[in-house]
Symmetry: C3
Subunit: 334 residues, 3 copies
């Protein structure tokens, strides 16, 4: 994809200074800009780079005044940062611009397909599946029977969705993620073996949810595992059966939430956190990476440790832990 | 799937009270039952809900006597809880009722396929593979050369099994799991680079093993990585090369066992546990979530911590850790 | 595959003692050797096993002199251990000997395919992709538009590579691994929801990199996530956007490196380690399993703990932690 300065100025409603025939095919930071790249200057801290950058086009604020010669073509706009993100989004959408149904795919006769969808090769879509408008399903996906996928949602390559699950509008699910596998439920028997407990519920993902790559969200034993609107999950996360995650909660990579636990709204959960089963995490809770949460946690808590305790208290105790040999020596010799 | 009260009563050998034309298409907890759902009442604690539930059918114990009007149709059986699990299992099997060979699949001429099998679209089956009777292989699976899969085993979508691995009878392997990738073995060389050590062994999974989604079990360097009968593994677990896991051991999500370690029988291992390589965990060991095990552990131990120590001792020490600043202050001022 | 003693002796330039018609179809440790297996004797500690092994062929050092009768055929070579690894590698290559293009595959017209490549069934290759010579791509892989894969690289089943990523020469990427999914970048908005930040960079994997199964490496927000030559990554690892991993660094399973962090050369990082975003780990750093690294770390450090501290200091403090109740009791009673 190649853009000319004139095209960009038109998209952004900006004014060109310099060579209006300059063209770019990539985006870069101002300090790393090479020929053919477009960048922007918003933070005055970076102003010095505009005089040395090799970028071909730089988006600048309307009020920018050069104090030295600049080789790049400038495009002046109201807000350079916002204009640049506008271009970023344009480029991002362009990159994932796919349409039509590739061949071969396996689509059950009873499946309902919306308008303007993309289905990549080697994707299979089961009986009674409902796919909304403007949905993109990349190659090698598996959509089980009775699954519902609402409008404007994208599944990247190799996503697997088991029977009966529901995916909302405007969701993005990255490659290799598995939604709706059986919950980990086994009842011990008298001879020491385990009998599996049937897992007949489903997973419901609400609108505007983003899910990373190779994450797993298990179906409910009965009822639904529920990921509420606006939740953002990173890669390689484990969500157990019957878990509920509240609105706009953000969770970093490799965190696990065990069966039947509830996580509140607007929480920020670090990576490598483990949350035990059958507990409840309040709203606006912050959990530091690598924390092990074994008990329910109140709203607005900030926690750390294994098991979890107040974040600041953990850090204070840890200062003493670091010097325990010396402290004990000191106290023994007192 | 819709069941009528008369059909359910017949399956369970139960007696109908109320509208025998009631029908249900889903299962629910008694307190969450909606029209069209079937539920059960076994624990007297929940008796109050039977008078308010909107479920269409409730399975109750033979001796249940209503003290208020009930809108649902009742089915009286010897043991309501057991009758309900019987229906759960029936429904669960129904849900995963798949048969035949979808199109396209890629099956090598030399592969032997058992009776009554299911092979989903876009699955590939290599040379000399042997598939038992009543095996179900969902779409997008990869079965490498010489793999053996015994009777009644199910592989969900996108499972990958490398060459030479053996999967037992009655196993369930969930979507995205990888069995038989190379063990992580590299020998340092004099120039600081690493040379990979050929991994020519395999993985053997015995009977009645359940494996969750996106789990990885590496092949042995030589010989076999061995998962013994009745083992239950959750999602996103890592099992290194040449590991042996004993009968009926249960392991929660995101736990890792490094190369050549042995885990005993009937162990219960929490989530996010890391077990070092070349060590041995005894039988009946319990390991708390997030523990790091660096040394061999005796039978019947219960452990926690990084590195692992006795579970109760860890918890006692942690009580002091929580108050270290105050305790040291107190002792300094003594 | 069956080898005769005469064939092996020829490959190794060795001398046969005993039955030269012996043949083998597998490899084993000397103490586990069964009929039909080949093994070797190098370490004198294992000499006793050569008199009892059931292996059909044993490779021994030139100077080996039997003191009792041996049933196996011996092959005498200069260095038995090295000769055995030579056979291991031969066998390993043989096992992964695949060639040609299976059917069906989906290859875009504009893709350029090198010589002597293998493409497994149900693999899809996007527009403008460039595949080098002697590349092997197993079934069910997804190669997005504009991806470059250089010579002699192998992708096992179900690997997914997003658009614009570059994979070097002589790499091995195991099944289910995802390269180039969006980085986890979301900007909070005033109403509590998050807006995704477009991720328009890519991933560059240099030469001789090995990556395990179900690992995820996110694309850069802008620029490149960079895995330098000779890096070895185990299974289920998370590498965030814009991370750089230096030459010949080795990382064990389930470790996570958050966005924009840099890891130096020749580091050894254990399993279950979490490295925060925007920090820098020096060269030759060793990080113990389960460590949480929150700050930048100098060259040659050896660290452990949450948060990370000097490895030996952690272990010393932990000795006191283990006995905290008794120590505090002692000091209170002093």
């Amino acid at each position: 994809m190649e853009f000319k300065a004139t095209q960009i100025a038109e998209i952004l409603g900006g004014e060109i200074l310099g060579d209006s025939s300059a063209s770019v095919s990539t985006l870069a930071k101002i300090e790393e800009g090479e020929k053919g790249a477009m960048t922007f200057l918003s933070n005055p801290k970076y102003t010095k780079h505009i005089y040395t950058t090799n970028a071909s086009i730089v988006i600048v604020n309307k009020d920018f005044e050069a104090t030295q010669p600049i080789s790049a073509t400038l495009i002046k706009v109201e807000d350079a940062y916002q204009a640049f993100t506008q271009i970023l989004e344009f480029y991002n959408e362009y990159k994932n611009q796919k349409s039509g149904i590739e061949s071969p795919v396996s689509v059950h006769d009873s499946a309902k397909l919306g308008d303007d969808i993309y289905i990549g090769a080697f994707t299979s879509i089961g009986a009674n599946v409902s796919i909304g408008n403007n949905v993109k399903i990349y190659p090698n996906c598996y959509i089980g029977d009775n699954v519902v996928i609402k409008n404007n949602t994208t599944l990247f390559a190799g996503v697997k969705i088991y029977t009966d699950c529901i995916i909302g509008n405007n969701c993005k699910i990255h490659a290799g993620t598995v939604i709706g596998a059986d919950g980990f439920g086994f009842a011990p028997t008298e001879d020491g073996t385990y009998k599996s407990i049937p897992q007949i519920g489903n997973v419901i993902i609400e609108d505007n949810v983003d899910i990373g790559a190779n994450t797993t969200i298990d179906r409910a034993t009965m009822g639904s595992t529920l990921i509420k609107q606006g939740v953002k999950l990173d890669n390689l996360i484990q969500v157990g059966h019957n878990v509920v995650i509240g609105k706009n909660t953000v969770i970093a990579a490799q965190t696990a939430i065990a069966g039947s636990s509830k996580v509140g709204e607007n929480c920020m959960i670090g990576g490598h956190v483990a949350i035990s089963g059958h507990i409840s995490i309040g709203n606006n809770v912050k959990i530091s990476g690598k924390t092990g949460v074994g008990k329910s946690i109140k709203d607005n808590s900030v926690i750390r440790g294994i098991p979890a305790m107040n974040y600041n208290d953990y850090n204070k105790s840890y200062i003493y832990f670091r010097k325990l040999p010396q402290i004990v020596e000191e106290l023994r010799n007192k």
